[in-house]
Amino acid sequence: MMEITALVLYVTLFISLFFEVFLLITYLEVREELSLEKLLDKNIKQFPTTTIIVPCFNEEKTLSATIHSILNLDYPKDKLSLILVDDGSTDGTAEELKKFSNNSQIRIFYKENGGKHTALNFALEQVKSDLVGCLDADSFVNPDALKKITPFFDDQSIMAVTPSIKVFEPKSVLQYVQKIEYSWGIFLRRMLSSLGALYVTPGPFSIFRTNIFKEIGGYRHGHHTEDLEMALRMQKNHYKIVNSHGAHVYTIAPINFSALYKQRVRWTYGFLNNAIDYREMFFNKKYGNIGFFILPIATVSIFFSIYLFGNILWNVSTKISDLFVRFQTIGFNLNLSSINLDWYFLNTSTVSILTITTLALTLVIMYLSLKLSEGKFKFSRGILYYMLLYVFLVPFWLLKALFSTVFRRNVSWR
């Protein structure tokens, strides 16, 4: 039994290290491209016509700011239009929308509630522009975001461009944790972009060539993650998706654990179930890096995270129970002179050296992520919160999503 546990631990560490090294090599390869991309919006000759869809369901509080951020985009007004779809809201969303009815750039539609993908498909039928994108009604765009995206479409093979998503004005500890996590996401997506392995076209401000929807169809339910399903469908049909890390979109991150938990269970559940639906891509060289490496590692990392967390929990609880036995036996007898600073008592096992190496590489990637997303690295309290809390949060939603996937899949098979 001990041998199997040790073997799993070694395999986990090997694959984690492999992934980190792979990411860092990719970073070295694309480093020059990253600096070139900064100049991309300086010399735009032609602005393609673009429509931004805002699907809304009970978003009266943030809707107005979302729409204003689109109207404030630094982009020719005659080339930019908005379609606002009220997906059967029951709050004051309709009244909020009415305030924009006189704007010539904006068209407003109301429909019965049917879910985000139905609102998007409804709007897509009205779109005539070259490009189309969506912005969730809890997100806001930087004025230069669209200009940082459209130049990518000069390359005719590119069918979708995703932005960098950041947390809007973090207030709670959990929002600070997510701010750092999103920086990770910005780095990861930029690397995946170069690998041709983006597997999400995020709801906030991913821009597509309009004709892609004619070719592969509109949005699907996609297990509540229609943006993930769309990206996988595009990848399966060999359509190119890239990321513009300079196009910044801000989103309101869940403020408390319960909201965050729900969101992440949905994301993880969506990922797992779409991965099952698109399983033929796995280990299939035909689909390049995404099939051969990224989808398998993303799936396996869910299990690894749960396993590593279990392992840490087991070690910590064994230590605590030992301390408890000691306390029970001889009381809280802290003899300072008996604390041994001899290096002999340091844990120098292979596993601990490998764990420290993996953590060190994680810190390097975190540094690069923050540099990429913020322009420069600055130590903030978010980093501290992230390092202290994140490991303990993730297993909750991973386990729940895994459980739901196994359980519901079983039910649906009957």
Partner: protein, 233 residues
């Protein structure tokens, strides 16, 4: 579409990191065992020196024996070997060998102490402790804490610990001399046998030898306290 060269390079780098980690860990493990070995050598030398001194006793008196007559390093040696039990990086065969010689050194030290007692009429307090590393001995861990705590409390107390199931002839002889049953943890304080878990307080109450030690420690404490107060006056 797949850059297989990149995958191979990544694999090689990862493998090198892995190999280096294994190498460093083994090297440090060996260094640790060398550390233990050098302490054992020092203890062996201490014992040899004491034995020589003892042999010379015929010609000299007990007064000439310094306070460091018995080796001081046995305790820390024991701690290091006990810690080594849970460390995967230490070579098992080497550790086994070091433990074997540790047990023998303990017995030699014990015999020397006994002879000193007879010859010079000193009455040191000693504990022979028999434990097992097997899971069946649940109280062994707790008893270990108690004995370490006692040793910290009474520096004059000599604790000799032995793995009951370790295959060393001398341990078996010791077991049969003291008629120690395999009902562990078991220990003998100045020849009196005890079985099972006993707390520090229990032992201080039950064992007369420990009571003496406690009285001596207290007397020493008052003596130093009064001498230091005199100095301040």
């Amino acid at each position: 579409m797949i850059d297989s060269k990149k995958y191979i390079i990544t694999f090689l780098i990862t493998a090198v990191i892995f190999g280096t980690a294994i190498f460093i860990s083994n090297a440090l493990g060996e260094k640790k065992l060398e550390d233990v070995k050098s302490i054992e050598d020092r203890v062996a030398l201490d014992i040899l020196s004491s034995e020589t001194q003892f042999a010379l006793l015929e010609e000299t008196s007990c007064k000439d024996l310094g306070p460091g007559f018995l080796s001081k390093e046995l305790g820390s040696l024991g701690e290091k070997l006990a810690y080594g039990d849970n460390q995967t990086e230490l070579n098992n065969d080497n550790l086994e060998y070091l433990k074997r010689s540790y047990f023998l050194l303990e017995i030699k030290d014990y015999l020397l102490m006994k002879r000193l007692t007879e010859k010079c009429g000193i009455e040191p307090t000693f504990i022979l402790y028999f434990y097992s590393v097997e899971e069946s001995c649940e109280d062994c861990e707790k008893m270990g804490y108690v004995l370490t705590s006692l040793r910290d409390k009474y520096p004059d107390l000599r604790v000799y610990s032995f793995d009951y199931n370790f295959d060393v002839g001398a341990i078996n002889t010791l077991i049969s001399i003291y008629k120690v049953e395999p009902n562990l943890p078991a220990f003998s304080i100045n020849g009196q046998l005890y079985y099972g878990y006993h707390s520090v307080e229990d032992l201080e109450e039950q064992a007369p030898a420990l009571q003496d030690l406690a009285l001596r420690a207290k007397a020493l404490e008052t003596a130093t306290a009064s001498s230091s107060s005199q100095e301040t006056e």
